[in-house]
């Protein structure tokens, strides 16, 4: 059953185009999506998912369930970087450990979007407020990562400003656009949705497919970095997502989430940030090596999650929820 889900997941255009991108790098084709097209697509995806989430949030309203889910999301985003930090310290220095921990505490919007497309395919319902969970889980890990550095790092120079850290965490372009679109979705509701629908809904799947083609290219180019990364980190990048998804499923079951919401929650816990957090870490923990935290998140965890993880976690849900 597990395997049939994996196969039905793999036979989707987005996943297949991700493979096509990876193949292009492996066979040394000169295929590339020139800058700034990928950035346009990622802005579009944040805009569309945020706006849609907002519109649906206003339809469903904010109940106690919603509040509990969002609270659980924030707690997981704070807990994951702490526990992974200590695992990472076994092999790595404080700076690298904190930066990687922050990466895994945060989330990957594209993994979330791929999971929601997968659910739509299988006709499994999920709620708009999960987008709010997505938005809330992006920033805390950045703050936690920095607290860890300051607690455990060598005495750092003191020209370090918390105001800047908060700006990096809460006002970086991904978080800002996602939250902004969500709020605008809430404000304009059903009416705004109708006028924007051909743009935000019609193109969505196609842009995701095209974007995953580029993700495939980028992920494959990063694979050669993994040699320097070493087996410890590669193992980490596969096992920790599974553990985090497991924790997420436990919480979801405990809070009695619907299967669709549970999958999205598990995927949020399991995914790692390869845009917002790396950009923030580069500025706030410059001592850490970017190729470590970018490459594990991008070349191992991201492909693992969208290819194996999503159907695997869904299989877990079928087991637990039935």
């Amino acid at each position: 059953m597990d395997v049939s889900l994996i196969i039905s997941n793999i036979l989707n255009p987005p996943i297949l185009f991700f493979f096509l991108g990876m193949t292009a790098v492996f066979v040394k084709s000169d295929l590339e999506i020139p800058a700034p097209i990928p950035k346009l697509f990622s802005l579009y995806l944040l805009f569309a998912i945020g706006f849609k989430g907002g519109v649906e949030l206003v339809k469903s309203g904010i109940s106690q369930d919603v509040g509990l889910t969002l609270l659980a999301a924030i707690l997981m985003a704070c807990f994951v970087p702490v526990y992974t930090f200590f695992i990472l310290k076994i092999k790595l220095g404080n700076y690298d450990a904190a930066a990687i921990a922050a990466t895994y505490g945060s989330i990957s919007a594209v993994t979330f979007i791929t999971a929601s497309a997968f659910l739509t395919e299988l006709d499994i319902a999920f709620d708009g407020f999960m987008v709010a969970a997505l938005a809330l889980m992006e920033s805390p890990a950045i703050i936690v990562g920095l607290i860890l550095v300051n607690l455990f790092g060598a005495s750092r120079d003191q020209d370090f400003k918390w105001s800047e850290v908060f700006r990096e965490a809460f006002l970086n372009s991904s978080v800002f656009l996602l939250v902004g679109s969500l709020l605008i979705g809430v404000a304009t509701g059903e009416h705004g949705w109708e006028v924007l629908e051909p743009f935000t809904q019609g193109l969505f799947y196609g842009v995701l497919t095209f974007f995953l083609l580029d993700m495939g290219l980028v992920a494959a180019r990063r694979i050669k970095d993994l040699q320097k990364t070493g087996i410890f980190l590669i193992g980490f990048a596969i096992l920790i997502p599974i553990v985090n998804a497991g924790l997420g499923l436990g919480i979801a079951k405990f809070l009695d989430m619907s299967p669709g919401n549970a999958l999205l929650f598990a995927v949020l816990c399991a995914s790692a940030s390869y845009i917002a957090v790396p950009a923030a870490m580069r500025m706030t923990v410059p001592e850490a090596n970017p190729s470590l935290y970018v490459s594990t998140a991008l070349a191992v965890t991201f492909p693992f999650n969208i290819i194996v993880g999503i159907p695997l976690y869904l299989a877990g849900i079928e087991l637990l929820w039935s």
Partner: protein, 101 residues
């Protein structure tokens, strides 16, 4: 034609704001910024470009030779902390309405 110093700075785009502030503090009259520069350096390749927002910027500043010391003093700590490189060349300014020297 007056003697000026040509300063080139290549650094991560996320440092751009800080570097331009430092340049403004030095009192240089102008600068030019090219974005989306890839490359290789101490911190590895930057092939992902704007994808991971780790692309480089390339900054050129022409300034009066007397400003050089201050400029270097302002920029060096940033480059030492966040990465990036800085090189200086001798150049001559063609007299125009605007002059840095």
């Amino acid at each position: 034609m007056d003697e000026v110093k040509r300063i080139e700075i290549i650094a991560s785009s996320s440092e751009l704001g800080k570097i331009l502030n430092a340049l403004d503090a030095t009192g240089v009259r102008g600068y030019a910024v090219t974005r989306n520069v890839t490359g290789k350096g101490l911190s590895g390749n930057t092939e992902d470009l704007d994808f991971t927002m780790l692309d480089n910027v390339y900054i050129v500043v022409f300034c009066n030779p007397e400003l050089l010391q201050t400029l270097v003093a302002n920029i060096s700590p940033l480059l030492n902390k966040f990465g990036g490189t800085c090189y200086v060349t001798d150049a001559q300014e063609i007299h125009s309405v605007q002059r840095v020297s």
